[in-house]
Symmetry: C2
Subunit: 318 residues, 2 copies
């Protein structure tokens, strides 16, 4: 390659990474040699020499949850623009998972991580940089940046939305117990209920469509509440279908509001009222922050993005 262009490997390297220091005609000779041979620098050698991978690890608790895809796509867009690669790991919510992530970081395969996951921590040392997205770490860690919305406030507003429309017996279909999202959204719900002088009541799910469907069945067979606030949209859609399957009309008999505003929410029947999170922006912002922290600028920070209650058909006026 260098021989074809008649220059040293150093010059090839320079014409790729700092074209301005190479003389015009030398550079063009190098360029044509590259075009001719299809040369691409070996990334292992680059990583080794530079001591950085120019790669970011994105840890997702569940790739199957459509909420994440747009987040990831926002991340990728930013990364690509900065010439940084993205390593996506589907990391189930189990304890051994954190260890695997740490290994990836310590092996130098990635320079930092984006965690869509409150469960696993940077371990003890935490020498590398991580940014948490949506779901903060369970123990607050002051020197880790977080990007997300105010889940508690959003949950409160969703509940208030129901209260304002005349609903009284409002059930919260909560998420799995081990995540902080569940706690925050539950807390917001409780605040709103207390303020309205209403009694908090719970059903439990695991963020899956199936668990929403099942919850609907239980409610349809017992006493129906006025409304249900679901901790995420997948469950809300399951609930909608479950109610339909048991002849319970939404929103006539019961109102439903979700959380996330996933792509399918406007296309359900009835269309799903929910809380919108700016997914794409969260993704791109989180990546931008991580990249600048890796560069050394930017101190750790807690970034709160705006959310918004989106009224659709699944909530009625009583």
């Amino acid at each position: 390659m260098a021989r074809i262009a008649g220059v040293s490997t150093a010059t090839v390297s320079r014409s790729l990474s700092a074209p301005s220091v190479v003389a015009q005609d030398t550079r063009s000779r190098v360029e044509s040699a590259i075009a001719q041979t299809g040369y691409i620098a070996n990334s292992a050698a680059q990583m080794l020499r530079r001591q950085e991978a120019r790669t970011v690890l994105v840890a997702v608790p569940d790739l199957g949850n459509t909420f994440f895809s747009e987040l990831i796509s926002g991340m990728e867009a930013v990364a690509r623009q900065s010439g940084v690669a993205v390593l996506v790991a589907d990391v189930p919510r189990d304890p051994s998972a954190g260890k695997r992530l740490v290994e990836v970081l310590n092996a130098g395969r990635a320079d930092g991580a984006l965690l869509l996951h409150g469960a696993m921590l940077p371990g003890k040392g935490g020498q590398w940089t991580a940014v948490t997205v949506c779901e903060e770490l369970s123990r607050p860690t002051p020197n880790t940046t977080h990007v997300g919305i105010d889940n508690t406030a959003a949950a409160r507003e969703a509940t208030e939305h129901l209260v304002e429309r005349g609903h009284r017996r409002i059930v919260h279909l909560a998420g799995p117990a081990n995540t902080i999202l569940t706690r925050q959204r539950k807390a917001g719900y409780e605040v709103a209920m207390r303020q309205a002088g209403l009694k908090a009541t719970y059903a439990s799910g695991d963020f899956s469509t199936a668990s929403g469907f099942t919850a609907a069945k239980a409610m349809a067979q017992g006493e129906l509440p006025d409304a249900v606030f679901c901790a995420n949209d997948e469950m809300a859609l399951g609930l909608l279908n479950g109610f339909a399957a048991h002849g319970v009309r939404v929103p006539d008999a019961v109102s439903v509001i979700g959380f996330d505003d996933i792509a399918a929410a406007p296309w359900s029947h009835p269309t799903l009222s929910t809380v919108h999170q700016p997914r794409r922006e969260m993704g791109s912002l989180a990546m931008e922050r991580l990249l600048s922290e890796l560069q050394g600028d930017a101190p750790a920070e807690r970034i709160v993005l705006p959310h918004r209650v989106v009224p659709r058909q699944s909530v009625a006026n009583r």
Copy 2:
């Protein structure tokens, strides 16, 4: 690290990669030094020296489509067991995408690729190994392994399922024009219709829930067919909701059958009849094949896995 254990780096390397050639007590000294320091081999150096990345690239056309998540999870499970990392790239169906993949491969960042994508080809040379999954390459390439089901036969059976139950005016809600999946499923539908002496009729979608919803609206406002065969489940679910929104009862007024059997299919209302693909097995098998082809064994092959029509509530007897 090597100094703490009092041995050379060569011995450390050997006790990790070939423990049997290292003496018992030396090995245990090395092991305790590793435990003490938390040493993890630098992967860039390993890649460089070994001339392989022990990494596989998985190219997905759309991470948002839940059909892929279980596939990927099957792939990851196999890869992890073999100590191979997985690089997931969300590669939209655009022409420039292929180039980026080739770069990753040529830079030595990955040894081979799993393509869930018929669109982009291994380029001209094709010196590295790729396995296509579900969606075969548009131009048949004899020396590339493919893992998938027989889409044409499956589509034919889905259509026959409708015919057998007395439906006559059966519309096919097709996928986007540029993918081979669309062509194959359309072809299967056509065969079944021709054999039954029925006239093929089409609606067009793009695999998204939204396009299914929209299609339902159009049908509800025109003349309703007896049944609709959707090219995938996301559209079928959108169609179900769209019909519900327009007061069209499924399956009483019109039957619907989908394709893929995604996780949400059993939890819709009515529950969705569809064609099941063994996603997890497809993923793990594809990964196994790719890995053994990378090892040099295993010739290229076309592997067809069994599919199965799953009758649920969305198809009625007429």
